[in-house]
Amino acid sequence: MNIFFAIVRRDVMLALRRMSDTMSVLLFFILAIVLFPLGIGPELNVLSRIAAGTIWVVALLAAMLSLDRLFQIDADEGGLDLLILAPLPLEVVVIAKCLAHWLVTGVPLIVSAPILSVLLNMSSDGFLVMIVAMVLATPTLSLIGAVGAALTVGTRRGGVLVSLLVLPLLTPVLILGASAVDLALAGLNAVPLLMLLGAVLLVAALLCPWAAASGLRLTIE
């Protein structure tokens, strides 16, 4: 457990010291959302209709920006070998790295999403469901993203490749998340969709560390 938190702590510390990388995800999220009203025009009905979907799509794209660095930097510096040789299962190392990734990219997205939804004229009825859905969805994003990141270690221009691998796998999260918020806005019960999002998270937590660890073992050979 000690080792697990040492990895999380180090990765969070590195992210905080490399603010330009960490902030770029959040700034991309904010900027892209701000562009939508400018492009579509100030019709409040239209904006509030597309608010939930827009925020979810942009959140997914923003998170993609950070994924290629998840293992690549460690691989370039030689640290990945040592993490693989550490006296704990590689799957646990992957979970630790995902947790750190979630803390520095997922949490800022969760916090900023409701604030940005005001820009898109989203009614405050959807806030609570949006936050809960994001809390369930963003860890899934880190976990599935880790699989893509592990498979593309050592490839040039890995960032684009990660997005191509990961985005199709994230469509269920997008559909469930956006629909849950839409349901809440329509005054309907969003709990079943939130439970499905939770189920997706559990499945991802079960399969992704294992898949990412296998991918890492392959790429370092």
């Binding site: 000690n2 080792i3 040492a6 990895i7 180090r10 510390m13 590195l14 010291r17 490399r18 370039d76 510096e77 030689g78 640290g79 070998d81 040592l82 993490l83 693989i84 040789l85 550490a86 006296p87 370092i220 050979e221």
Partner: protein
Amino acid sequence: MPTAMLSEHHARVAQNNPMVPPVSNSILEARDLALWRGERLLFQKLSFSLGASEALLLSGPNGSGKTSLLRLIAGLIRPTSGVVFWCGAPTNKHERFHNDLNYIGHLDAVKPLLTVAENVEFWSTLRGGDAVQEALNHFCLREIANLPARFLSAGQRRRVGLARLLAAPGKLWLLDEPAVGLDEDSVSALFDAIRKHRAVGGLVVAASHGDLPLENAQKLVLPEIHS
């Protein structure tokens, strides 16, 4: 006689340790290793065995497979055929092999954004060690302990990497070109550490294209590859 062996036409074997223990005392043993990388056969029928306090020096020209053999022993790559045993069990099935292993690759695994002390401390924690201060002292890193590693020279970064050896316990040291980029004092600090490690029964496998001052080391020369 247990010693490093390659098929005769592939390598010549030097053995200058008269006090070779019998095979049953061997802790690290490689049997019949062969490794294909890409389209090339790096080595085949490679066997060696090391007992407590023993050292093996891998040498050979660039590209002869020294690094690959070290990574193979560490378990980072799988041999095409053959097995590596640690304390009688294959390394990939041995539960504690990773606890016993200290691997220094040709990259230093030093994070430029962390300070020297933070770097050593992290790898030490990861391997259950608590001797960070001793390690920093031994490699004369005390004065620069709080300097972010991005300001270090290549030799200093190498020393930070080597400090991992002393910061956490490990019975088997795998060293890939450990002396590259080091000044004289640091080289003697390194071999001082190796001597102490072997004095308490530790094993060392070191790869170098040149000669390393390892006393009583078995020598294994990997041949040049003509494809």
